[in-house]
């Protein structure tokens, strides 16, 4: 790399790291949203149960 190796490789490495990071971040975001929506009906059900108990 004609003396510029460190610069070229660090630019590439940083790019790869950030791109992988945002890709995994998007995946995590989606998965967390999926879990939140899975939990949502369950949470509502438990609230309704307590109302039933009060009655």
């Amino acid at each position: 790399m004609g003396g510029y190796g460190a610069f070229v490789w660090s630019a590439w490495g940083l790019t790869a790291a950030v791109l992988v990071w945002i890709a995994l971040g998007a995946r995590r975001h989606h998965q967390r949203a999926l879990e939140a929506t899975r939990d949502a009906p369950a949470r509502r059900a438990s609230v309704q149960a307590t109302v039933e108990e009060v009655k």
Binding site: G3, Y4, T15, A33
Partner: protein, 245 residues
């Protein structure tokens, strides 16, 4: 055309379609990025002026290009959301911001790494670098404003308005920074000449740009899917999703 638009705009339909489409963006993106990397690092000849340092162009220019393209995409989505009150448009704008900020950061960081061997400094108050820095702050402002609202619907609309104001302002910012830069051209630093690109140098760059765009498309889809789920919590179609998602 309109029925197609409406159909795509419906969250369940989008969710289904995007899940199936995503790999068609992700796989070609990975192939092109790998191809562009090999082409850029090994196949293309070194520049006669900058030697091998110019190879940074293959990660720098696509990032800078995407930084701007994603902002415009975000502003268009925001405008569609404001005008037609379309949930999917707001979801897209919200999903664009962190990706765009990441590309902007990459453009700045790789530009800085390129600047060190070429100009002798990590940062130069160059017109282009400065306006990309401002773009980075615009992304941060969008995300900060959106998350500051407790009511996500309000946050979406407020941030969308900010994105539109920002996109009107960007040409003015760009112009002002260029004007400022021509007044203060530092004479001691040798300017970075846009290398006259030959075909074998240009090809990997184009491959990389297309690769970045496809990667953006794939990541955007995943994020929009997440945003759609968050916005549609408790809707029947979500409860009917197969466990595989």
């Amino acid at each position: 055309m309109w029925t197609w638009f409406h159909k795509l705009g419906s969250p369940p339909h989008f969710y289904r379609i995007s899940g199936r489409l995503m790999p068609w963006f992700a796989v070609p993106a990975l192939v092109l990025l790998a191809l562009g990397t090999v082409g850029g690092l090994w196949w293309s000849p070194p520049d006669y002026q900058q030697g091998d340092a110019f190879r940074i162009i293959y990660v720098h220019v696509p990032a800078a290009y995407m930084a701007m393209m994603v902002y415009v995409t975000m502003a268009v989505a925001a405008a569609i959301g404001i005008v037609w009150r379309m949930k999917l448009a707001f979801a897209s704008a919200a999903a664009c911001a962190p990706i765009g900020a990441a590309f902007t950061f990459l453009a700045l960081a790789t530009g800085s790494i390129w600047g060190r061997p070429m100009w002798g400094v990590w940062w130069d108050w160059d017109g282009r670098m400065t306006s990309v820095l401002v773009l980075f702050f615009l992304y941060l402002g969008f995300m900060a404003l959106r998350s500051a609202f407790e009511d996500p619907v309000k946050g979406d609309r407020a941030a969308a308005l900010l994105a539109i104001v920002g996109v009107v302002n960007i040409p003015i910012i760009k112009f002002s920074v260029d004007w400022w830069n021509t007044l203060h051209q530092p004479a001691t630093l040798s300017r970075l000449q846009a290398p006259a690109m030959t075909g074998d140098m240009l090809a990997p760059l184009l491959v990389m740009i297309v690769g970045y765009m496809l990667l953006f498309g794939a990541i955007l889809m995943v994020r929009v899917r997440g945003e759609v789920l968050l916005r549609e919590q408790g809707a029947r179609w979500i409860r009917e999703l197969s466990p595989g998602g």
